[in-house]
Every structure is written in structure tokens, then in C-alpha cells.
Amino acid sequence: MKLAVAGKGGSGKTSFSGTVSRLLARDGRRVIAIDGDSNPNLVVTLGIAPERMQDMPTLPSDLLRRTEDGIELSKTLEEICTSHSLEGPDGVTLLVMAHPQHAGTG
């Protein structure tokens, strides 16, 4: 199931996203959590040390390619996860999309 979690700033959506991700993973589900915010905080609510994001390379600009049908990824999700994800407690995979310099703040 692909779930988008949204809400006003301060509503608690990131605490919710991180907690529900871990609980689902603890229950044996495969969970990929994506921080879609340009100021990423999901890492903290997942219980991953934010320093671990510092070594993460930024996503390459050629990751998307235009095709006749629109836009598609030039790599598989598995390949992207191999180079751009962190495994957190309970086995959650955090996919790191944004620059990590502000992780853990705000």
C-alpha cells in the first residue's frame, strides 16, 4: 500500500509517519519511508541517528529520463535504495531524497 501523509506544519504528521512506519515494519511488513520535505526530519522520528545522513550522496540529476510516455526512473527502486537509503530500527528503509544539512532541526 502506498500512503501519502499530509497536513499542516506542526500537525504532527512527521511523528505519525515515522511511528506508523516502524510499527508496520515491526509487524513484518516491508516498509519504505520517504521524506518528501526539503527540510528532512523523518530520520529522527524513525529513530535513526541524523549523522548517518551526512555520508549519503545526493540523488543524481540523471535519475529521471523522458520517454514517449512521460518521465521514468533510469534506475530500479532497488538500485536507488542500495545507494540512497538507510536501514533503521525495526528494518524500516528510509529513502533519502533531499540534502541532509538541516536534518534534526526545525
Partner: protein, 151 residues
Amino acid sequence: MHATVRSVIEVASERHEDFCILDTEASPEHLSRGTAQYADAMLLVVEPYFKSLETGRRMAGLAKDLGLERVALIANKMRGESDLEAVREFAEKHGLEVGGIIPYDDLMPAAERAGSSPLDFAPEGPAVTAIQQIARGLVDGSIAGNGAVKA
């Protein structure tokens, strides 16, 4: 970044038992860029006051414009019967599903101050307990489900 996120969600596993959870940006504008277009469902975390509920309602509208039919409110930081009534009344008026209720819990801001995850900081706390219930509802299809999906 939005186009990449959108494409990643597009190719994520379709299996009901696998989860791909996108924590979106706080602004409603991102929704009009279609970031969440390929999600199966959207959960809107709202607080029990008008501006927050109103943002939720606007986001629900944008989600439906994207073709997302399965939208549910998650009412957070709820402090009692009057909050519950306010959220239910709002949801009913606008035809929105209340998918979950999370009580106000001092342990949540405390976890944030400690730079810790709520689950490690307060695993037995009322908010985490409520989120556990929501996780079960997502798995069994009773929250933001289409009635037919069962794990």
C-alpha cells in the same frame, strides 16, 4: 525533487502487505505538483481547530483532483470529548472519513525535544498506542481502504 518522489512512488510495490509511506511537505502546494499522484491513499493529519481542519479539507480536495479517492483524516492532539465532536462534525459536513484518533500526549513533544523517536521514547504512551491501532486499521483495510482490500 517532486518529480523524483512521484516516480519513486509510481514504481513502489503494489502489494497490499508492502508499505511505501511518503511524509509530504507541509504546504498544500506540493499536492498540486502531483507528488502524491501514485499513492493509493492519503492520510491527512489534522489538529482539532478550524485552521488545521480547513487545511485538511483543502488537501483532501486537491487529493481528489489528483484522482486519489481514498482519503482519511487522522485527528491528532485530541484533548477530550469536545475535540472529538468538533472533528466528527467537520468531517461529516465535508464528507470526510475520520480514520484515526490520536490523543494529546505530552510524551510526543518530549520525544521531539530529546531528539528521539516517539517509539523509543514512549513505546507505551497513549499516542503511540493510538498509532498502533491505526497501523492495524491500515493493514486490515478498515482505514482509508476500499472495503475489498484484505491482507
